[in-house]
Symmetry: C2
Amino acid sequence: MLPSFFQEKDPFAPIKYGYEVEEVICQRQTRHQELLIFKSPYFGRVLALNGVVQLTERDEYFYHEMLAQVALHAHPSPADVLIIGGGDGGALREVLKHKVVKGALVVELDEEVIEACKEFFPTLSAGFADPRTQVLEREGADFLAQTKERFDLIIVDSTDPVGPAESLFTSQCFIHAFSALKAEGMFVAQTESLHFHREFVRQVQHRLAQVFNLVDLYTVPLATYAGNWWTFSITSKAHNPREVLRKCEVFTRYYTEDVHRHAFLPPSLYQELLSDKIAP
Amino acid sequence: MLPSFFQEKDPFAPIKYGYEVEEVICQRQTRHQELLIFKSPYFGRVLALNGVVQLTERDEYFYHEMLAQVALHAHPSPADVLIIGGGDGGALREVLKHKVVKGALVVELDEEVIEACKEFFPTLSAGFADPRTQVLEREGADFLAQTKERFDLIIVDSTDPVGPAESLFTSQCFIHAFSALKAEGMFVAQTESLHFHREFVRQVQHRLAQVFNLVDLYTVPLATYAGNWWTFSITSKAHNPREVLRKCEVFTRYYTEDVHRHAFLPPSLYQELLSDKIAP
């Protein structure tokens, strides 16, 4: 029997997931966090930061496609894209599938994550070699507060909102994100699980609604994030994110136009989930 | 720090879930399986059989409502209902919410599960005291093969399809279920996770399609079953299970008519998931 890696340190999940470990590939303390890459018989290579699994080779596409492709297809022309976090390159890979994208700026707090992913997840992180890509090692909320650049799309691909990532979900940060968007801009962020973090989802939706006209929520069932039923909060200055404006012409494994539309909850369920009716 | 209960014995899940244990409430070896009930700070009371969590007080309603209410609302008049398994009483509770139900027969392999749930999950299992309820301690596939009774609705609420529950998913068993249904009868079974058991879901759907005209699949994201993205395979002799035939007039926490319709995947996604395109 193989040894197991249990996410006992995950502060944000009431279930601790355990993975079989075939081989530890990389284990190091970066300037910001504990980085672990191991091989699991079922999931392939797995990346964990501070003891919490961030991605597995087997199922990362569910998360990365849904994080990026919905806004990429709801925006009429996403030329300039900002990714906050996303040091593994998964969101970047999805963004760069679109020829309409002229520039993708990755603002990642921890460049050592990027370096490790270039080495151990070469397919996932191939986008870092694309000439359209720029990388900035910097804290995301801080960057948003100060940048003079304007983007068509901002994607927040953060770790759990405890510790460094907490600053990405404040009202102040959302105001700065609004300012950093062009007139038809969109903003999307991973916002945790409707099962385990519903109160957090509510708070984020409430804060976003104070800044953006159009705020919505879509979900995808994920296998490897505790609580699954993962949410993405999406906001927009002009276009309804439920609508597919650009026909899907890129290769995806899970995302389709039908998936796009179905990922948004029926309005009644959306309202109920964010009310107290079925809480907790 | 509390001790943890890890599902290390789960033979059907590549992730082992771990729960904090505040108190062990009941631990016994029944004639058929190892039964454990413990209290977890987040989930309340938790029932595990053979080391695999079957339900938690906190989130069982997602599973039980979706298992039972879809068919109960798609059938024009579900008077006679058969539940196979379901010894905890959760599916029975949902069935008995409907006044149109005249009789509910629970065929459960292990009466000691029923007894333990009556004692330690009194709300969940209250339906066993309802005069419409009958209980038979018997192996479900065996009962279906021999019964002369005819039902409007058959609900299979089994453990994972390894060991005793395996016999409930054979073609032979589906043929017997078909025979045990009235002319407008429906059949619904929990059929595991689209993430972790997609091949099993495919097999079951294929076998059902050889017996029933109308075969469909719906899902719910569950927090406490490994792989979440839980599937229910539903079949019908006459009515399309996607359609809500009877207005929802019972109290539910998650199920609504919108949830009913949304739980069914868009046809293109359903086809893709059961093809090889995005496997595994």
